[in-house]
Symmetry: C2
Subunit: 370 residues, 2 copies
């Protein structure tokens, strides 16, 4: 299987065996990560970033890889996450295909690609693996753990499972439990992949690849990552240029369709379908309430922090801002100086990637105060 | 091809040839319809209902077909649309597969099923065909035309193309133009069908049927017909009973997934995939502004009515209430006594089918005043 590892990626080998929450264990598994800035002598200026479903560890450019990262505008010298002050670590999630061990990796015991033999993956496992990197870098306590989207779940799981892991926390468009609308969307994305005959129960190759399923899954993702409001202004009912007609029956006609098509094409062969299935399902399973007898606020209050921020966008339909408000409330119950910021960014769930004016100001302002 | 015609359906043969807006014509095409109540001697108590994408003409039970209709609670003696007072006509849309001529019908010229040889279908064609039924019943002017969802588009097109067709209008969760979010959703539904190898450019059979594509399309439909708010209360994170485990890898686990699965199973072989593609695309194409030099409010103001109501739900993501507000505003500019009601029904786009308390009160109240 193809893995998609950016140059300049560093690796940490996890303790072997690495026990998984739902059973099974990994042998000689590794986590890909990148770092920016310098760890100070007190080792107390480290920030960990845990990501959404698809990003790699290349959040921003650095000397070993000058290519723009997925959070380039947020991270760097003088930027909201100021690498002149902070030592920043970004990890690629366990289960992904961007350098960390996942279903697309080779099982060292058998010599074969894991595929569906990879053990069931939970957010808690992703969190434990990310925490292991922090420990390996000899950081006793992070100054802050920042989690975006799925990473918001990962950060909460890490904080709950590893008390004292971080002094503060920024939860960006995250959630303490998956709710049925987002479960429905992700379930349908997985079904589109599973129904593609080329998926073949996970036993595909680059030549016989579940391209149709990945295409549907990605387009549905992009639809739910943005917002109707943004698209009304951006695409309205603009047609594609008439000199490039789509001759397929029922083919592309509107700019919005072409936009989705571009996203799908860029994604399809850049993310492993089995990894997608595992990571997607891990989000559906995540429920912090399971750690607190079914009470979500009690689960959050079990996390002890000095200071916390939960931020999101009112146009997010996948991780609606009520969920970030809930996180802020629960962390406050746990004793943190905890704030909620509901932005009116029009870009939906993806706002944290593009609306740097709002999200950068909030994140930068928070970090200046810690 | 299978057509799905309820018992007790009546038929009207359209003028032949029947010219289509985007070119081509139909020969000996017909429209399926049902009626309730009695036309009075002045022939001024008729109401026409035009439907969403998938319903047949069986809006409610009647003596020829006692089975419950899709708007049973709304329509009947003493109900909000009171058939003791009104003579109600409901038509199955041109292009559908529930009795009216569409891509699943036999082309009388060739003897073969139309399939993709059916001419391009627009909402304006659906409107013209529905209007032909009204004319055939010798109703000079409808007391009211009621359009739900896609039918809201159809009603506006009928009113604009046939001045004086109706004295009043109720637009239920409708829209005067398709916007990019709903285009994106429908485009993806169509793509799921088109990517199914069994679709075979429309040349499928019941044995080789694009079941996977229809399954994805329907589930995506149901996701966008309801709302996250409703599902939080209704399904939350409830699991399926453990004695019925889904052994498929990545199979069903949550109640919300099983709910979608039930909807998909009931739909798949009850609606023709090519008809679905044609009707779906007709909605994307619909833009009343095209009838008024690009100005949507001017397009609406071109419709002359005594009285109008546009109603919708604040949780509707497919036909958001701003669109019903716009319809009410434009019809008011055209001189109608026009009102907008934005309900807080939690059931999203489908609220008009289930929240009879709110929608029935509004529709019944309107009809009492005309």
């Amino acid at each position: 299987m193809l893995e998609y590892i950016p140059p300049g990626t560093r690796f940490h080998e996890l303790p072997s065996p690495f026990a998984m929450k739902r059973g099974g264990e990994l042998h000689r598994a590794r986590i890909a990560y990148e770092t920016w800035g310098k760890l100070n002598t007190r080792r107390d200026n480290a920030i960990l970033i845990v990501t959404g479903l698809s990003p790699n560890a290349h959040a921003a450019s650095h000397s070993d890889n000058p290519e723009r990262g997925w959070w380039e505008a947020m991270l760097g010298p003088g930027k909201p996450i100021d690498t002149d002050r902070w030592f920043v670590i970004c990890v690629n999630s366990l289960g992904s295909c961007k350098g960390s061990t996942g279903p697309a990796s080779t099982d060292p015991d058998s010599g074969f690609t894991y595929r569906l033999r990879f053990p069931e993956l939970s957010i808690e496992d992703v969190a434990n693996a990310a925490t292991a990197v922090v420990r390996a870098l000899e950081v006793a306590q992070l100054a802050c753990i920042i989690g975006n989207s799925m990473g918001g779940m990962t950060a909460l799981a890490a904080l709950l499972q590893h008390p004292g892991l971080a002094r503060t926390h920024i939860n960006v468009s995250g959630s303490a439990q998956a709710l049925p609308f987002s479960i429905a969307i992700r379930s349908l994305q997985r079904e589109a992949i599973r129904l593609d005959p080329n998926w073949n129960n996970g036993d595909y190759s680059e030549l016989h690849y579940p391209e149709s399923g990945m295409r549907i899954a990605r387009k549905l993702g992009v639809i739910t990552y943005r917002s109707a409001l943004e698209w009304d202004g951006r695409f309205s009912r603009i047609r594609l240029e008439s000199d490039r007609p789509d001759e397929e029956p029922f083919g592309l006609e509107f700019q919005i369709e072409s936009y989705l098509e571009g996203h799908a094409r860029r994604f399809i062969h850049q993310f492993d379908p089995n990894c997608y299935l595992y990571l997607s399902r891990s989000m559906d399973w995540f429920d912090l309430a399971e750690h607190a007898d079914g009470n979500i606020l009690d689960g959050l209050a079990g996390i002890k922090l000095e200071k916390a921020l939960a931020i999101g966008s009112g146009t997010d339909i996948l991780f609606p801002i009520q969920q970030q408000e809930q996180i802020a409330e629960g962390l406050r119950m746990g004793g943190a100086d905890s704030n909620f910021i509901g932005t009116d960014s029009p870009q939906g769930h993806d706002a944290f990637l593009v609306d740097i004016a709002r999200f950068g100001a909030a994140i930068g302002g928070f970090l200046e105060q810690i």
